[in-house]
Structure formats: structure tokens, C-alpha cells
């Protein structure tokens, strides 16, 4: 169990926030990567080349990063669930996001803008009750005579995508864009049924585990039973071929922008699609009520061999997990963006952005307001306020540095976490490098 928890934290360091609550990027139209939030958002440069850019965010509800992680006296980084438990609510969430864009290209051809990009993206979240880390950190003794709800929803996946985009400008004020993305799933761990509860009786702590739980995995996750938890993740076995040609999927993006005098507004719907997982698929299913009341070995207890290991071994086997290898399909979190940018003057732009994602039959939203100032022709910077998650208020900003054709930019939704990560619940940033050729205008 500890290994699994460590593994999940490892992956969360890469993957997904409750979707990537980026309410800034689609307000920064000079940054080529804003195109990934709206396919109609294309720069005026004749040619745009995106060099590697990286986005990462992680979010803990309730407890902060420092509550979960600490460096002990021996200098080892330790996971500290007991410190986090004090800050947790009855239901909690940990999310993370990763986007690693390797290269991208965009160019105008008349009124049509063509684009292509390749990226590795990962998203993940875990909805869990406070009792889950309590079981790991404190055990079940505090819950003797009670039922611990251990139900949780884990969604964790990564894929590579190759996107081909097209944007047209039928009239001066209007741009309409679309994108098709060819996906290859890298890995997935996702629950489709989430019910788990553990009841501990008062008498002699008889256990009753009630389950209606299914976890699907693809690629490098392998459950071999309780005795082999050290080998649940076979990262060493990942091969380059795992990234290509398997777990195929397809997704579509649509967007539109409308410019009127000093204002631009945009609307986009992204990641309408799914991935079919067929590489090294395992479906772990357990359903039923599993009771363990102790071994019926009293006679042996009086015999020559007094061994309680037998009881421990039996305890491990009470959970009947059926494993199948049926391919399955997961939908991408579908994102929706709406923004309005208004130039207050030649240097100052005020923008607002609304973001929603629909995933796992739940809608999650964020709202941001931004003030962007063009200090010089080579430096622009902005202040950003956004509202999402708990705590809800985030103060961030960005900079864009244009050195000739070379562009370097950085974005974060929160300054505070960067300065004091141990006290932060949110951690979010994007950095990237682009090359832009002269404007078509």
C-alpha cells in the first residue's frame, strides 16, 4: 500500500491539476502556445516555431505541499500523511497536470493558417476521503466499531499527441479554427467503480471489507497481489515503442475569435475525444462483502506450533481481486474557454477568461482577470487574479521577453507558492521558448 501511495505521488508530480486551470494563456495572444487554448487564436507572424515549453501544476485541497512532504532529520524526503490529515476535510482532492510540448509550427498561407504540434500531456486527480490517508498513517484502531469509507476516484493518464490545425479568417474581425489530434496513450490508471469501505468490529477487531471497485490500468502498472507490492510499477520496462502506435485515440478542438475595435473575444471547445487502451491492459475488479474474523485454528494454538503468521497470510487474501485484460476507453477531459481582451491603451490590456472542464460527469470552472502591460517593445508583463479550487484566490502573473525573433515567456497563476512552496496548496507554472518571423500585417 505504501508503495502504491508513493507511486501515485510520483505521478502527481507530473500530471494534472483539476484540469489545467490556465486562465492566463488564452489572454496572451502574442504567445504562440495560446493557440492550444483556442485553435482560432493564431499569431500574426508569418511563421511561428514553438521550441520546447513546459507546463506543470499540482494542487492539494486542504493540506499544503509542506503538510504532505517534509525533509526529516536524516535529510530524507518523507511523505507525512499524519501531518496532512489534520488539515484535510472529509472529502479531498489532489490534482496535477503536465504538458510538455516538444515542437510546434504555424504559418500563414493567404487567409489560412496551418499549424502542427507535438506534445506529451498528462493529467491526474484523486478524490479521496480523509479516512484513506488515515488508514495508512494512523491505522484502523481509531475506527474500531466504525466503518471507514475508503472510496476514491483515481484518474491518471498520459498520452502523446500530434495535432494538425487550421484557422481561417473569412473576414477581418473573425477567425475560426479547428484542430485534429492523433493520440497515443502512454499510461493509464483509472477507477471506474470506487466503492470501498472497511468496518472493524469491537470484539476482536473482525474486519469487513465492502467493495464495488474497479481499476483499469494500461502499460506499466501490474498488480501481483499483496505479497508483491514492490513491483506494481515497472517503469524500467518502458520502451520507446510504448509511446507510439498503441493505445490510439483521436480528439478535436474548435474555436472562434471575434475582434471588434479594441476588444477581442474568443470561444473554444477542446479535447473532444477519447483513447482506447489496449497495451498491457489489466482490469482489477472486486465486488462483494469480504469478512475476516480470524483463523479457526484454536486446536493448533494448543499444539506444538504457535504461529500467527498464518493469520496474517489469510488476512492478505480476504480481498478477492479478479483480474481481466479487457481493452477500455477513456474520454479526455473536455475543456471550454471564453475570454475577452480589451486594449485600454497602446500599452495596457485588460482581459478576463472563463474556463470550464467536463470530466467524470462533473463540471469544474475557473475565472481569471488580467492586466497586461507592454513596458517596451521587447518586454511585456501582466498581473493576474484567478479564482478556483480551495483556497479560491490566486494572484499570479506573466512575462514575455521578445529578443528579436526569439521569445521567452513564463506564466504562473500564483506567485506565493513559488516563493513558499511548503505552505502552498497550488503550484502552477508554464515556461516556453518560441521563434517568430515578422508579422504578416
Amino acid at each position: 500500500m505504501r508503495n502504491i501511495l508513493l507511486f501515485i505521488f510520483f505521478l502527481f508530480s507530473f500530471f494534472g491539476s483539476q484540469a489545467q486551470q490556465e486562465t492566463q494563456l488564452n489572454l496572451l495572444h502574442d504567445v504562440w502556445q495560446s493557440n492550444r487554448t483556442n485553435p482560432a487564436l493564431v499569431p500574426d507572424s508569418k511563421l511561428s516555431i514553438g521550441l520546447p515549453s513546459f507546463y506543470n501544476s499540482i494542487y492539494f485541497s486542504g493540506a499544503s505541499f509542506g503538510d504532505w512532504i517534509r525533509e526529516n532529520e536524516e535529510g530524507k524526503i518523507m511523505l507525512t500523511p499524519n501531518r496532512a490529515i489534520e488539515q484535510l476535510k472529509d472529502q479531498n482532492r489532489i490534482t496535477g497536470a503536465l504538458q510538455l510540448e516538444t515542437i510546434s509550427l504555424g504559418f500563414w498561407r493567404g487567409k489560412v493558417h496551418f499549424s502542427a504540434h507535438h506534445a506529451i500531456r498528462g493529467q491526474a486527480w484523486l478524490d479521496f476521503p480523509k479516512t484513506l490517508p488515515q488508514l495508512i498513517g494512523q491505522g484502523n484502531l481509531p475506527f474500531v466499531g466504525k466503518t471507514m469509507d475508503l472510496s476514491h476516484n483515481l484518474q491518471l493518464f498520459a498520452h502523446s499527441e500530434l495535432g494538425l490545425g487550421l484557422a481561417i479568417q473569412p473576414i477581418e474581425q473573425l477567425r475560426v479554427g479547428g484542430k485534429i489530434k492523433f493520440l497515443n496513450g502512454i499510461a493509464d490508471i483509472s477507477t471506474t467503480r470506487n466503492q470501498l469501505s472497511l468496518k472493524t468490529e469491537e470484539e476482536i477487531y473482525q474486519l469487513q471489507l465492502t467493495t464495488d471497485y474497479q481499476m483499469n490500468t494500461s502499460s506499466f502498472f501490474q498488480y501481483n497481489g499483496f505479497d508483491d507490492l514492490n513491483n506494481v510499477v515497472s517503469v524500467n520496462n518502458i520502451k520507446w515503442s510504448d509511446f507510439l502506435g498503441v493505445n490510439r485515440g483521436i480528439a478535436f478542438d474548435f474555436g472562434v475569435t471575434l475582434t471588434a475595435k479594441k476588444s477581442t473575444l474568443g470561444l473554444s471547445l477542446l479535447d473532444i475525444g477519447s483513447i482506447k487502451w489496449n497495451k498491457n491492459v489489466n482490469n482489477y475488479r472486486t465486488k462483494g462483502i469480504f469478512e475476516y474474523a480470524g483463523l479457526d485454528i484454536a486446536r493448533d494454538f494448543f499444539n506444538d506450533s504457535l504461529s500467527i503468521n498464518q493469520s496474517i497470510d489469510s488476512l492478505k487474501t480476504i480481498l478477492d481481486i479478479q483480474t481481466t485484460n479487457t481493452t477500455y476507453q477513456t474520454n479526455l477531459p473536455t475543456r471550454f474557454y471564453f475570454f475577452v481582451n480589451h486594449k485600454l491603451n497602446d500599452r495596457l490590456t485588460l482581459g478576463t477568461s472563463f474556463y470550464s472542464t467536463w470530466y467524470q460527469e462533473r463540471l469544474r470552472s475557473a475565472l481569471g482577470v488580467q492586466l497586461q502591460y507592454q513596458f517596451t517593445n521587447w518586454l511585456s508583463a501582466g498581473a493576474h487574479y484567478s479564482i478556483y479550487n480551495q483556497p479560491a484566490h490566486h494572484f499570479g502573473g506573466n512575462f514575455i521577453l521578445n529578443l528579436g525573433a526569439l521569445q521567452l515567456y513564463g506564466i504562473t497563476n500564483g506567485f506565493f507558492p513559488l516563493l513558499s512552496p511548503n505552505k502552498a496548496n497550488n503550484f502552477n507554472f508554464r515556461v516556453g521558448l518560441n521563434i517568430g518571423l515578422p508579422s504578416v500585417k
Partner: protein, 495 residues
């Protein structure tokens, strides 16, 4: 190349934003898990079987349990009688006249009928006459198909009769006046009766299938044997007082005559190595046992003679703590019975001895000790352990435990309790010693970090178990086969 590029990017990520997360080396936690270990219901039979596989526990018709020990079976066969008859017959019988008889019965055996299974009667003589003779030999008490054996020989003058034989297979011997007779008549060529010299009868290889008559003082001698009683094998101290112990002598007999078993030795060896004789009037008189009548030839008749508290001092000697029973039993024909009986070649007399201790009695501080292997390796990361023992007892015996943990070199590490602790209370009983309600007791056994560190490497445990019947052994209680003990053990382990 592209793969390398990916890896470099991943390393960049690892070494910057998420370095702490990716460097997690463990979990800081101090969980305490509670889970059940044992949940079992056992009868006393199960528990005793766990202590010793050699102990038999039987169930009386009313369900009362009893310890049961049975000794070896000792057998005496009819061959001993037939050997006696054989020895009574002289190996060489000189025939000194034309009519000759000799006694077949002895002071110990009166023969009415013998049937031969095998054997032969050889004979020879010398014709010392100057003429050829015609000699006819007849045996009126030895019959084949109800016809006396007889044979005629022509023997030349001054000649020996070569050795001749009567085949005795299937032949019956019916003595007349306890004797058998031989007659011969010899006539020479002149029709004159003559006698012969050196006439001898030689019985050979006699074997019998049936004997009928009276065995006056034939003794079927038993042999000294010992019945081990391991009830006290692991005993340390205390006592168990049985209300109705018995020693039973079981006899199986197919000899067809009245006989008496004489108990020559019946002593009990106690835990203190004392030898206490079981005293009873029947030790002097013996006891008769059943035998088949003439109409029941071939049948085996059984007899069980019980020494109990009414006819012996068994209660006294058994409660001294028996570890063995030494015994020797003979069988003799009932004196002065003067009744004709029979023996076949398959007749036998066999006996065995049982010691029975019905579980009706009192136990007081009755302690046994045993050493068990233990293995705490599954708790190697535990810092403390607390066991919760819930015992629901329908048996009128309570259990007090003490244990000593030993390392691999049998050095004591720590004890289970500070002092012996009762973990199972006896069930309540009525005046007849029968259980009227179960008892329930909950016991906690704790090993904090300090104590647990002491026993962490324990390999063995000496477990001293002390039994007391209800009311601290002051009431005689009965243990029935349906009574059981429910033991549930849970553990709280801190890591």
C-alpha cells in the same frame, strides 16, 4: 536521439519544480492496526488431541467424556492343552501281552474324546516262533469312521515285521475307563495261538483338532505387562480427583469349559514412583468368565470385569496420579467344577486391560507444561502489540496461563504475564456438576515497545497451563462431549 531529448527534458523537470516529490524516500507514519487472529470453537477433545496424540477420549452413552487407555492383548491358545495331552502319551509303548492297556488321562486332564488332525501310530514285532504266523492287531478305542483300527500281517518264522503304521488323520480316540487298549492274536501254521517278542507301538507327530473331557488344573499363565498412562505426562503440580475411575479386564474365550481369571498382579505406579496395589476381594478369589457350551462350539464369549470404587480401592490409587498400570492375569479351570468341556484347535483365551477415567471429578491447580515453537517475524516492524482474548467457556474447567519466551538457545527473554493469569473462567455448574451457564472472560495482554523488543527474537515459548474445575476444584464437575470453548483473539499492532 529524440528519446534522449525526452529524457533530458524529464530530468530537467525532475530537478526543478518537482524534485522534492520525486525524491520521496518513505512514509512517516505510526499506524496502529487492529485485526483478528483467531476465532475458533473447540471441544475438550480438540484440546487434548492437541496436547497428545496418544490419548484416547471416548464418549459415554450419556455424552460424558472419559480418558481411555488400553493395554496389549495377551493370548493363550489351545495348543497349550494339546501339548499337555501329547506329553501325557509315552513316546514308546511296549506291548507285553496279547491284551494290553495304558491310561490316557492324567491328574490334570481327563480325556473323553480326542480327534486327531494328524499323526501316525507305528508298530513292529519279532516272530520268535519256528513257524510262520498270522497276526491281527486291533485298537478298540481308536476308531476311524466309527470302526476300530485293525490290521493283519503274515510273518515268517524268526522274522521281524517291518515298521508299519496306522494313519491317525481323522481318527477318534475314545478311552475306556480312562485307558486305551491294544489287542493282538497270533496263529501259527498249526492253528495254535502264539505270542511274539519285541512288540512296540510308537506314536508320532500327533496333532489334534478336538478335545473333550475335564481339565482339572490346567493353568493358562499370563505374562507381566505394563499399561502406560500419559495423563500426567506434562504434569507439574496440582491434582485431579476422578469420581468414578475403573480398571476393566476384558476377556475373550472360546474354550468350552468353566474357568476363572486370577489377577496375580494389578498395581498402579504413581507420579511419585510409588507402587500401589489395587486391592479387592476379587484379587483373592478371581472371577469366572464366560465360555461356550457344547452347542456353541466355535463361538467366542466375552466377559468384562470392572474394578470400581465399590469393589476395590481404585479411587484411592488413581487419585494418587497414575502413570502406569502393571498387571498379570492367569486363567485356570474353575476348581471343583468337574464339568466336562471341550477345546478345538482354534480355541483361545485372550485378555486385555483398560483404564478408564470418566471426566467427572475435580481439578485443582492441575498444571501442565509444554514448549511450543513461535514465530513473530510478521511483526518485525511492530513497536508494540496488544492481544485481546475473548473466551466463552461451556466447559467446567478454567484455564490459567503463564508463558516464558525463549530465544534460540533456550534462554528466557520475558514472561507472558507478570504472574500467571486466568484467561478462561470455568462454566457454572449445578449440584450434579452439570454446566448450567457459560462463562465469558476478556483478557488483555500488552507488550509495549520495551517488552516487545525483549521477545522480538523469541523462538519458543514454555506454556504452563493450569486447570481448575468450577469453584476452584471444590465441586465435582462433568465434562460432556458437546461442551465447547470459544476462543477469539484479536491483536492491536503499532508500527
Amino acid at each position: 536521439m529524440l528519446k534522449l531529448f525526452y529524457l533530458l527534458l524529464l530530468l530537467l523537470v525532475i530537478n526543478t519544480a518537482c524534485s522534492k516529490l520525486l525524491d520521496i524516500e518513505g512514509i512517516e507514519s505510526d499506524p496502529t492496526y487492529a485485526f483478528p487472529l483467531i476465532n475458533s470453537t473447540v471441544t475438550l477433545r480438540d484440546i487434548i488431541a492437541g496436547f497428545d496424540d496418544n490419548t484416547s477420549l471416548l464418549v459415554e452413552p450419556d455424552g460424558l467424556l472419559k480418558f481411555f487407555y488400553r493395554g496389549d492383548t495377551i493370548i493363550r491358545s489351545s495348543q497349550e492343552v494339546f501339548d499337555g495331552i501329547n506329553s501325557a502319551i509315552p513316546p514308546f509303548i511296549p506291548v507285553i501281552d496279547t491284551a494290553f492297556g495304558f491310561p490316557i488321562s492324567t491328574s490334570t486332564i481327563k480325556v473323553d474324546l480326542i480327534r486327531f488332525k494328524n499323526g501316525q501310530l507305528d508298530y513292529t514285532f519279532f516272530n520268535n516262533n519256528s513257524n510262520q504266523i498270522k497276526l491281527t492287531i486291533s485298537l478298540p478305542q481308536i476308531l476311524k469312521n466309527n470302526v476300530p483300527l485293525s490290521r493283519t500281517h503274515i510273518v515268517p518264522a524268526f522274522s521281524n515285521l517291518p515298521m508299519s503304521s496306522f494313519d491317525l488323520n481323522g481318527v477318534e480316540l475314545r478311552p475306556l475307563n480312562d485307558s486305551i487298549y491294544f489287542n493282538y492274536s497270533a496263529i501259527d501254521d498249526n492253528n495254535k495261538n502264539v505270542k511274539v517278542n519285541n512288540f512296540f507301538l510308537i506314536p508320532r507327530n500327533l496333532d489334534f483338532t478336538y478335545f473333550e473331557g475335564i481339565l482339572a488344573s490346567q493353568i493358562f499363565a499370563g505374562e507381566l505387562d505394563t499399561l502406560e498412562i500419559d495423563f500426567y505426562k506434562d504434569w507439574i503440580n496440582g491434582e485431579v480427583l476422578f469420581e468414578s475411575p475403573t480398571v476393566v479386564i476384558n476377556i475373550q474365550n472360546s474354550f468350552g469349559f468353566p474357568a476363572t481369571a486370577r489377577v496375580r498382579v494389578l498395581d498402579i505406579i504413581t507420579i511419585n514412583d510409588d507402587r500401589l496395589p489395587l486391592e479387592s476381594p476379587f484379587r483373592q478369589t478371581g472371577f469366572e468368565f464366560n465360555y461356550p457350551s457344547f452347542q456353541e462350539k466355535g463361538k467366542v464369549k466375552g466377559t468384562s470385569f470392572v474394578f470400581n470404587s465399590k469393589n476395590s480401592n481404585i479411587g484411592e490409587v488413581v487419585n494418587a496420579g497414575p502413570t502406569a498400570l502393571v498387571y498379570d492375569i492367569d486363567a485356570v479351570p474353575t476348581p471343583n467344577a468337574n464339568v466336562s468341556g471341550f477345546i478345538t484347535d482354534s480355541s483361545y483365551f485372550a485378555y486385555s486391560i483398560d483404564a478408564e477415567f470418566p471426566l467427572w471429578g475435580r481439578a485443582s491447580n492441575f498444571s501442565v507444561s509444554d514448549t511450543s515453537e513461535i514465530n513473530l517475524s510478521n511483526f518485525d516492524k511492530a513497536t508494540s502489540l496488544q492481544f485481546k482474548i475473548v473466551a466463552t467457556n461451556k466447559i467446567p474447567l478454567g484455564v490459567t496461563l503463564q508463558g516464558v519466551f525463549l530465544d534460540a538457545n533456550n534462554r528466557p527473554l520475558d514472561s507472558l504475564f507478570a504472574k500467571p493469569q486466568r484467561i478462561i473462567a470455568p462454566a457454572d455448574v449445578n449440584a450434579q456438576g452439570e454446566v448450567i451457564s457459560a462463562s465469558e472472560q476478556i483478557t488483555h495482554v500488552s507488550f509495549d515497545n520495551l517488552r516487545f523488543n525483549k521477545i522480538r527474537n523469541a523462538k519458543k515459548m514454555i506454556l504452563q497451563t493450569t486447570f481448575d474445575s468450577t469453584n476452584e476444584g471444590k465441586v465435582a464437575v462433568k465434562v460432556f462431549d458437546k461442551q465447547d470453548l470459544s476462543i477469539k483473539i484479536g491483536v492491536v499492532a503499532s508500527f
